[in-house]
Symmetry: C2
Subunit: 287 residues, 2 copies
């Protein structure tokens, strides 16, 4: 059985950077402890990335994920790769916490663009999943008038306005952004669109689709809470119905690959290399 692995599988730039910053915090914390200083704790506000295995590894290094600022009494707070809401950021600062901003620079840029558009009087539309922390963060920079939509369908009833500014969640699809922009062109005489879709996401999607077309079985590895991994699995399954989304190697079932000549493996942006390697090893051992 042939195993084909997507080159773009796994950590993107923003995730790598966040993990690196968290590791630096863990090292600094350990050095402080060695010097006899007492640590006031290092936390992440929400999981640093959407991968339970990585979050668990960080816990072993005493970096603890907390849901709200109320759960953090002092010390250092690491802002996760997806970013946080503006009010959370400001409150962390007001509480005197040491902030390590691990927000993905592409997400940070999108937050700044939302803020700029709102300041310049645009009615801001954010294309993204309502419940995703990145989107909630983005929306918080646009003030009260902001509108979050998961698709152009949610804009059909929008009243006409003077000018619309559009920003996308970094993991959205280009097609969805084009659709939203098209609808907005009928809603305002001026439409300013920032294509904030991250290249890494679309490259990974394109490569994975190409792989799904060539193999008998497709395995998508990544957090069940990872939006980009779920989307990757969705897209692959439209090409190859035998597509399976797993978080860890233990979930693999022998019958999935029985009689298959080739297996394709891809992984979301928040899936660490070692989790992917375990999946490759496990499938390889089955041969």
């Amino acid at each position: 059985m042939e195993i084909l692995i997507a080159k773009t599988a796994g950590f993107c730039y923003g995730v790598k950077r966040a993990i690196k910053l968290a590791d630096q915090c863990a090292e600094a914390d350990m050095a402080a402890c060695t010097d006899g200083e007492s640590s006031s704790g290092t936390y992440t506000l929400g999981p640093i990335i959407h991968n339970p295995q990585v979050v668990k590894k960080l816990e072993e290094k005493h970096i603890i994920s907390k849901e709200t600022l109320d759960d953090i009494e002092g010390g250092t707070v690491i802002i996760r790769s997806h970013g946080v809401r503006l009010d959370e950021f400001e409150e962390a600062d007001a509480r005197g916490l040491k902030i390590v901003d691990a927000t993905c620079p592409f997400v940070k840029k999108a937050q700044e663009l939302v803020s700029e558009l709102a300041k310049d009087g645009y009615s801001v539309v954010v294309l993204g999943d309502h419940d995703h922390p990145e989107v909630q963060g983005l929306a918080s920079y646009g003030g009260k008038g902001i509108r979050v939509v998961t698709s152009s369908a949610e804009l059909v009833d929008m009243s006409k306005v003077k000018k619309i500014g559009i920003v996308a969640q970094t993991t959205q699809s280009m097609e969805a952004l084009k659709d939203v922009t098209s609808i907005c062109l009928g809603k305002a005489a001026e439409v300013k669109v920032y294509n904030t879709i991250c290249n890494a996401t679309s490259l990974r999607q394109t490569e994975s689709v190409g792989l799904a077309e060539r193999v008998d079985v497709m395995i998508v590895v990544g957090g069940k809470n990872s939006a980009n991994t779920k989307r990757l699995a969705e897209i692959c399954s439209t090409i190859q119905p035998k597509t399976y989304h797993i978080e860890v190697a233990d979930e693999l079932m022998d019958e999935w690959t029985d009689g298959s000549e080739s297996v394709g493996i891809t992984a979301g942006a928040s899936t660490p290399r070692w989790v992917i390697e375990e999946v490759i090893d496990r499938i390889g051992a089955e041969r």
Copy 2:
């Protein structure tokens, strides 16, 4: 035989305004002659609107259409409804001609937007017909880097740039603007679109399509050199193959309406009411 006339047939706001300004010039000229002053001539740079019948009527009032500024030695120059190129405007001024600017305010606005986008560092794309005077005028405000396209197909090979600004010829279709915008979203991280399509055009098109669906024969009245009339005839003929584009009532052929129960009549933005009335009267007389 039933005759149905589109409510939106004929002169749009910009054309009405241009004709009114030309008539005021003709009156002023006549008043001057009555007072014994010699007229230094009143001209339009290119036909004031794309309708030969109107141009002929103005000639009778001594307002002469000239192709270039070299043909005008002095006096007053009326800038036609479609506007002129920036260099022509400046040269007319430099030559000391009295300028009466009858550029449609919507076209003027589009010219200003092209200028503003170019000044703000956008790579400007104008959606429009290369040969149309309005488009040549618009393009002249965007400097050397400007790109005129008649459809999104002409942008496929465009290199990526930092930011793109889009302006449309006022008579373009919304679909074409959406297509061009979609392509541009893949060419730049920032795309600013001004929907400069004139509402009058789309309203006229929508009403005419509705009419074409209900009648046995469709008559589209307007200059053979009028882009918006030609487009109107094109759109109607996709709905009703028995669509005829005529400039004046004399072109009507009895056999077109023989055996028909209903005839629809629409007209371009540059078609005067009296030309439409003649067509209505002629068809009515056939009954």
